[in-house]
Amino acid sequence: MKNILLITLFLFITNCIFSQTSIYPDSVGTKVFYENGYTYQAERLGSGIIKVYNSDNKWINIAKIHKLTGDFPDENTPDLESNEWYKQTENLYSILEESYSNEEKEKIKRVGRKGIGFVELFINPETGKVDDVRFSFFRLSYYMYIPVSKFREIELKIKERLQFEVTDYGKQFNYIYYWNDYKFK
């Protein structure tokens, strides 16, 4: 009898743990989130990668090209000044660290694939400010349970606080693309 009670209790607890439903699509497709004053969307790819971003964006899914010639950029010529790039990467990490609670960070670290998250930045070549931000993660990660409002909060901080220095070469393009992966310490 005691064993039956223990098994029942175990099944109940297990069910509670795994019944938390993910916010983002469970199958391939796009889900739109109409929030207070902004709209976000999440695309799930056949690979299980989920990409989350503001629906009101300028550059996402648009090719990076030379503004006059339409040519693609040379891969090995930097479009951002390296010293400022390092500083802004540190700023990006600071924003990410401060935006998640300790509990969220612990869960992100423990669940799924080593807690890796990705941030893509689409930078305005004239101002060095960030025009668009896209977040991505894997279907097995805890990011599946992070609300859209958190990504929106981070997006706003990035747009407000990051300031890149664009090289003369970079200024010739419609936008500057930069991505980073990160893991919490």
Binding site: L45, S47, G48, A63, P78, I116, S136, Y177, W179, D181
Partner: protein, 162 residues
Amino acid sequence: MFGPIDNAAYDEHEIKFSTGKVLGITLGENYESNNLLHELMHAYRFYTEENSNAYNSSNLNGEIEAQYTQLVYKNAIKANITFPVDPQYAYRIEIAYLYMFIDEYGKLNNDVSEIELENHVTNIIKEYKSSPTYSKEKYKYDSNRTALSNFKNLRTITKNCQ
């Protein structure tokens, strides 16, 4: 990457092959150990393929493995990228996503299906093809191979590392 590239930021890097053997690897002075590892992966693969034709018809398969191995190495030694050129292209994030699918030893991660890996490699190929350095003649993808088989050399060289 094959053949010299002409630009101010990086010196040339090149790997030369002859019939049945690797003649040598040239790296410019701005290159680092991770770049050498990348070229060594190509050299190693050259010896694991049946013949030159098999090698040449799967250059993109080999490039994906070499890029991923390079990234694993860079992460292992916690190397900073020394110049802000690496993150410019979308195919590089696709390579970094590979961590979700395969581990540092080239094996499929638990709970990940081979179909997901196949889908992801399809995305990588798509991004490579839209990259300015992509050459249809040089970077042929052999789609008769499974996505997981692209990492067989990584599995071999890390066999005693686990």
